[in-house]
């Protein structure tokens, strides 16, 4: 376990090991092999941030560079999955997903239900999420709640390299459509990752820090902000339990409810907009199930209900920070 690799490398390794294991796995997307006008393999991009780099040399035509038409190739991936293949489609930014909602919401998510359980759609759609990359309003959104709203979809958001590898392998082996969300600012983060292949089951939240005073429920990049806040609060003897949901559909209610039963205080942190978010979803569930366990009002720390600003100084203010999380924790502790 001594080996540390980045989330980018971990995702590449997951794709590599699953392509080697299962000939039905193939990868498609924009610029995943070489950029437009490039010399193909020699100056291949390997995806806009390099996740698929080197795979073309190994697997050749099992990596398909697609035209700039998301609805066409996501539709093709969904169809291939319904016909027995295991496509992994890379849809650069989650912000672009809108042009293929019909393929995702009405086709992929519905096949199993509408064909009486006889159809499987084992498609994975990999996509980048998140702000802090100075990429403006159309390339910085989180948008995970759009997908958790749809029954039939699984939604996965790794927060580190170990989880990224095991969750991507599980996504490829899973028989349902999976929206696999990668935060842009996590690609370089290194953690211990086994060389061997492994799958992390869906619906298992990770308690990344134990504490008895306040439960912080979050996912993706915000796990790290929450851990920063928890470390700062520990100096004031406030012990936070930090839960990384890892998968938003299915979601691990048991771990969340058990933790809040112990702490009696909940802070939900979500980089998405506040309305109808993962934060509001978790808040509602906890109020509904274990209201009497709560010692204080639930706090939510989210981005505001506005587009993501392009101005770096405004974007920094816009995103949830460790300070904002710590403030929310202190508010729950005041009761």
């Amino acid at each position: 376990m001594a080996r540390k690799i980045s989330m980018r490398q971990a995702l590449n390794e997951a794709l590599d090991q699953e392509m080697a294991r299962d000939p039905r796995v193939f990868v498609m997307g924009e610029d995943i092999v070489g950029g437009m006008g490039g010399d193909g393999e020699k100056d291949a991009w390997g995806g806009v941030l390099g996740v698929t780099k080197g795979l073309y040399a190994k697997y050749g035509d099992r990596l398909l560079d697609t035209p700039l038409s998301e609805s066409a190739y996501i539709g093709a991936a969904v169809g291939a999955a319904a016909c027995g293949m295991r496509p992994v489609a890379e849809l650069m930014f989650i912000d672009f997903m809108g042009v293929c909602f019909d393929e995702i919401f009405n086709q992929a998510a519905k096949f199993k239900y509408m064909f009486g359980g006889k159809a499987e759609t084992p498609v994975v759609i990999r996509t980048m999420i998140g702000g802090g990359f100075r990429a403006a309003a159309q390339h910085s959104q989180v948008l995970t709640p759009l997908f958790t709203h749809i029954p039939g979809l699984k939604v996965v958001v790794p927060s580190n390299a170990y989880d990224a590898k095991g969750l991507l392998i599980q996504s490829i082996r899973d028989n349902d459509p999976v929206i696999f969300c990668e935060h842009k600012n996590l690609y370089g983060l290194e953690t211990d990752v086994p060389q061997e292949s492994y799958a992390i089951p869906f619906g298992e939240a990770n308690v990344v820090r134990e504490g008895k005073h306040v439960t912080i429920v979050t996912y993706g990049m915000m796990v790290h902000r929450a851990l920063d806040a928890a470390a700062a609060l520990a100096k004031d003897k406030v012990e936070c339990e930090v839960i990384d949901l890892r998968t938003l559909s299915p979601i691990d209610w048991d771990t969340v409810l058990e933790s809040v039963e112990n702490t009696g205080r909940l802070v939900c942190v979500d980089e998405a907009h506040p309305r109808c978010s993962i934060a509001s979803d978790v808040s509602a569930k906890v109020s509904q199930e274990i209201f009497k366990a709560l010692k204080a009002g639930i706090q939510m720390v989210t981005s505001p209900h506005t587009p993501v600003p392009f101005s770096p100084s405004l974007e920094d203010i816009y995103l949830p920070s460790a300070d904002k999380i710590a403030t929310a924790v202190r508010k729950t502790m005041a009761n």
């Binding site: 376990m1 001594a2 170990y162 095991g166 086994p194 061997e196 292949s197 492994y198 799958a199 992390i200 089951p201 298992e204 308690v207 134990e210 048991d254 771990t255 058990e258």
Partner: protein, 371 residues
Amino acid sequence: MSEKRIIPIVMPKWGLSMAEGKLASWLMKDGDSVKAGDQLLEVETDKIAGAVEASEGGVLRRRIGQEDTIYPIKTLIGVVADADVPDADIDAFVGSYVVPAAEEGEEEEAGPRYEFAGTAAGRLRYIKRGSGDNTVLLIHGFGGDLDNWLFNADALAEGATVYALDLPGHGQSTKKVDEPTVAGLAKAVLSFMDTVKIDKAHLVGHSMGGAIAIEVARQAKPRVKSVTLISSAGLGPDINIDYIDGFVTSASRRDLKPVLENLFADSGLVSRQMVDDLLKYKRLDGVGDALTALKNGVFAGGRQAALLADALAASGVPALVIWGAEDKIVPAAHATAAKGAKVEIIEGAGHMVQMEQAGRVNGLIKVMIGS
């Protein structure tokens, strides 16, 4: 020089990943006289809690480390010395103490942390500690790995060459188990001994590893100097099959933690990190199949398939049997089946007695192997 009689007590390094530990509490006061093996203080890490023991006797002259405080490994946290060493010498020793970590630590970082051997049974991970002709081989049990010897390997290596391996299907070794039986795993251990050129060794086996040690002695008696059987399988038919089933099937922290609590007399020793590490192992491709095959081969029908007490007696190999009195996995009553063996039942310890009462167990093994 009086310095020879001043013994530094430092934050220990238990296992390769430990970088720091918390001094939980002192178990002795300044001025207490200390025998070798006495427990001086309790240390907690994210993996496990344990006691630090005195390596030599004397008087506990200084408690430098504060309780409830985290120190990097090898930090000076106390001083044991003879009663007649002047205070000024101890002050000088403490003042001039230099943590030897940097050089040695870097060397460890740069060199191979774990080693791997390409054996007839597949690629097996192992560690090697210490030096000398007297060789000890540590064999873990079902679902375990070489880190089960976290508190034992370095202590035993003070007087011997110590090897600990991951059996096939376990730890970071191959997940392919050719013959999922005690006899099959004994063959794998012999292949390992061939590959790393261990001619003859004292075998120390925990749980299923104990049964494997007896079986190695049965298959290749000339290569076994002695066997130490810790909470061992192979001595009777009973096994807590609910534990085995639970270990094989649990895929979440919530399910696995209560299963693991059966391993210790003090269930509080099951830390978050311990559960996480085991889940990471269990998620690896091939582990589920390997554990299921071993369960069916070694514990078929909820009973131990290999009963080796007679084979142990017939082999004539010297044997030591150690058991935690509160073992909830293999009953301590099985100890009596090992005829002619020295038997030690340790109170206040469960199945993982080599972790819970490491000092006692290390002392007993040291006597057995004559180091």
